[in-house]
């Protein structure tokens, strides 16, 4: 038997498609899927002759959406809902991070607060919406409170887990270096919790959208949720679907914004930093 040390002439490594090509392919497939769903929807309506009250044609939805967009009547509703979402998100996040930190660093407060926090989550928060309407009226406030209550829990949990997921050796290192509790928190626990915080933020921004819209269902005169209820009353199903589209787009954009912040912060943690030194260091002794 002869051993051939030369590579076989027909063996050529297949070049992988370039990065932009792969990227385009993936996005193209994703868009194509969307097109297929629309096509299926269109087919369903025409095949079964569904009345527009039950399921409007995608073209009808697009038409309604376009009309509402150009005459600007969607904008005030959009603004109200967006401010409810953002208020709720910021309020709930601050509360979640604050209480999570308190419970994580203090065993006393953990014992005092955890029953209440679990109880607050066990109780269905949307059930509180009617009383919030009585307390805070029909304005932005009750919806923001509901959104905050819903957004609170993922951040609380993730803050707690992130702050406590510190290796015991790291804590001992800080103890050996004489760090106080404040330094331990700021320089070890908090930076360690940052990935957990972002995971929590991503969940709670989406939950804030849910909280705001469902809050509007209960009692509101403005907002996208109120518009859905109104369109139900007017039997204007295309309008309802148009609002669904807007809400979905809004949720996606908000999620992507949080995700972009996360990627930015996390990539800062892995990049190589230039080390500026005024003079080249000289070893204190020769080898």
């Amino acid at each position: 038997m002869q051993l051939d040390t030369q590579p076989a002439p027909d063996f050529q490594p297949q070049p992988l498609p370039s990065r932009p090509a792969r990227w385009l392919w993936a996005w193209g497939a994703s868009l194509g899927m969307f097109g297929l769903v629309l096509l299926f929807w269109y087919g369903l309506v025409t095949w079964y002759r569904l009345p527009p009250l039950v399921l409007p044609l995608p073209t009808a939805v697009a038409h309604t959406l376009w009309q509402y967009l150009i005459d600007g009547s969607l904008l005030p509703h959009f603004g109200v809902t967006l401010s409810e979402i953002l208020l709720g998100f910021f309020g709930g996040s601050c509360l979640g991070i604050g209480l999570g930190s308190l419970v994580a660093i203090s065993p006393f407060w953990q014992r005092v607060l955890s029953p209440y926090i679990i109880a607050s989550q066990a109780m269905p928060k949307l059930a509180l919406a009617p009383i919030f309407v009585i307390w805070f009226g029909f304005g932005i406030m009750p919806k923001a409170v509901i959104a905050a209550l819903i957004a609170f829990f993922p951040l609380f949990e993730n803050t707690l887990v992130g702050l406590q997921a510190v290796e015991s050796e790291s804590i001992e290192l800080f103890r050996m270096l004489g760090a106080n509790r404040w330094q331990l928190f700021l320089k070890l626990r908090l930076p360690n919790a940052v990935p957990y915080l972002f995971a929590g933020l991503r969940v709670s921004i989406v939950l804030s959208v849910v909280g705001a819209v469902v809050g509007e269902y209960v009692g509101a005169n403005k907002g996208l949720g109120a518009l859905i209820i109104a369109s139900q009353g007017m039997m204007d199903t295309p309008l309802m679907f148009a609002v669904f589209v807007v809400l979905t787009a809004l949720g996606m954009v908000l999620y992507l914004l949080v995700h972009a912040c996360e990627r930015r912060v996390m990539s800062r943690r892995t990049r190589i930093e230039p080390v500026l030194s005024r003079e080249p260091p000289t070893p204190p002794y020769e080898r």
Binding site: R175, L177, G178, V194
Partner: protein, 299 residues
Amino acid sequence: MRESTLPHEAEPHETVMDVTTQPIPPKIAVEKIGKRFHNAAAGTRSTRRKQSGTWALQDINFTVSDGEFVVLVGESGCGKTTLLRLIAGLEPPTTGQVRLNDQVVLQPSQEVGFVFQRPVLLPWRTVLDNVLLPTELTHPLPRRADRQASQPARQQALELLALLDLQPFAGHRPQHLSGGMQQRVALARTLMLHPSVLLMDEPFGALDAITREQLNLELLRMWHHGKQTVIFITHDITEAVFLADRVLLMSRRPGTVAAEFLIPLPRPRTLEMRFESEFASLCRAIHQEMGLMRHDEQA
């Protein structure tokens, strides 16, 4: 404690002489140290708890003089790490006490540097910022942006990194470095505060043999330069003999110092020394003693 008879005891190392002839107190004195861990299954009543539990360490006495390099050798599970943690002040002993500079150790001291089994670097900091961590914690800097204020510390950190061949990686993140490099960063970080005592808990145990040899040499180089008092833990007899002025052999059940060996090899040590007969006979003596201990345990 069994006293060993070694072929080269005619010329003991000078630092060891200090312990016996000088009246000055030793750098570190471990006095009648015992440590008992409570069994989780034991009763909760205090009277029962007092009698239950396992003694991880019992009746350990030894002293380390200033600038001495002592290596603790023992099988895994003999309480080496626990002993080192007691000396560091990370845990209180059940009985006895540890003295550092004639002061009873009650809590960790900044004079003591501890090198852990793993590098324990903070992944969100660059190598340089990891090395600067001790300075940051002990002399809080005004602001991160105010780099000028920290310039001397930065310079010192860069010098330490240069000394350990890590200067090109100062701006990298620790997770991009190999295990040996990470452990060298940990060593540089420990040296930032100029500790007079280094406690090292199998720092090179997880590394491959070649990297470990290199790091042993670098450690000795640092030690010659800084003249720290070192207590080093390992389960590798060759590493122990290579590094040490004195090797303490620990036994298991109860964990105690069973034998002591002086290592009269000349310094600076070189890797070639390991192939000399003197080195080999020292290793053999420790190995035999270890075997005897195991035999006693089983009997």
